[in-house]
Symmetry: C2
Subunit: 252 residues, 2 copies
Amino acid sequence: MNYRVKELAGLAGVSVRTLHHYDAIGLLSPARRSPSGYRIYGPEDLLRLQQILFYRELEMPLEGIARELGRPDFDPEAALVAHRARLEERLGRLRRLVATIDTTLARLGGGEKELKPEELYEGFPKETAERWEREAAENWGDSDAYRESRKRVARMSKERWAEVKAEGAAADEALADAMRRGVAPGSAEALALVERKVAHLRNFYEPSPEMVKGLGDMYVQHPEFRAHYEKQAPGLAEYLRDAMTAWAAGRA
Amino acid sequence: MNYRVKELAGLAGVSVRTLHHYDAIGLLSPARRSPSGYRIYGPEDLLRLQQILFYRELEMPLEGIARELGRPDFDPEAALVAHRARLEERLGRLRRLVATIDTTLARLGGGEKELKPEELYEGFPKETAERWEREAAENWGDSDAYRESRKRVARMSKERWAEVKAEGAAADEALADAMRRGVAPGSAEALALVERKVAHLRNFYEPSPEMVKGLGDMYVQHPEFRAHYEKQAPGLAEYLRDAMTAWAAGRA
DNA sequence: TTAAACCCTGACGCTACGTCATGCTCAAGG
DNA sequence: CCTTGAGCATGACGTAGCGTCAGGGTTTAA
């Protein structure tokens, strides 16, 4: 119900000093003070702190956070949805970093001394402050793939579901076939097949190019996905990733 | 081949000032200087900068980075593999943050004013410097789930593969059944079934509790996984996540 | 040969706290 | 009742990792 500094600090995983600081700059002042001057935080403060931490995690300067939270039209739920979208973006970035490690390792393993500099830093350009301005304007954070997917699947009948699964399997099989025939993952034919796969994905949600690329990365990185595709045809996971990456690049 | 400050800065996505700074503190000094005093970076510098940026991304203080890179036994490839493991960990953290948003939204949507504080901050405790010390000692970064998985699947025969798939399906079905019977995801029975599922995962790699939890989160968050389980039984994705989370908690 | 685009080296500024120092408060135990 | 240890408060100063001028050379394409 009510918390004192150290309790709240423990819960939220921040230091007491941080709470002092947030109070000092007026970012988060406790609901009230005890007679002896102790800071007493209430439930509203917990939610506000959560918002602050999300913004901070996403590297918004404290001053900016204060401005956001202070806006008369600030909507906590909408903000959470926006945070979610930004976190997903960051997940994408981190996955690209992992991929960068893999390509670097591959090159080093291949004995190459010198490697293409673009490959070396793929995924690094941190989300700068610039990003905050851009997104503040675009405000595209309201669509939410997860909820979308949930709703669409819920509305699907058993038969429709069987169809959808068959579509997906057919699309994957067509891609596996293309790979076996030596079709380059960046070729027009491969891209068309990716388009078909994307059409299948649309049964679940509306995938952005970024998401398609992320999905491709996941096929390579996640053991369960990887095993699934790898068994269908050796090298298929990488092939899919490359084709999907190329497809996404063509849409960006 | 050779780069001047602005070029390298552009490639790596850092500022010129940053390169100046790294030179000033001796973290990254250019291979040579032009007659007029310009900094000239060579290929080795590129790789070193990549290492620096990975360490920085993972929030190691520059001084610590300098120490690491300066160690006589420093092995670039091993370091990359370690970075990879840490990035995967962070991916897990971010996924937990996304999950935290979802539960918070659910609670708010349910009209609840006050929500459990542990739920509010799940995933926040940032990886502190403490972590760097711990890991420096443990040095467990050498195992790599991805490579592991790849090798094990490759060695599997077609028949063995069919068996493994059947095992997995059976484990999932048993869990779905438990859910339908109202067995709590944290109960001993559910945990035993998770154990069975984990046994199946071991066909691919040796999953840490952290990884099992991350996998559960993914079942909920990723549309393809979610759709798969959701169709098998409504609510199964969440049920699996909860059970796997509980299982992982019991191992931590 | 001149302007635009880089490059250099200081030097000061800034954010988001960490880290004392100094002193009050409060609950439990002797 | 008094002490003691954990917790709280308010300054005040320190730090990391650059951002941001200022003042002045260098390169290169037109």
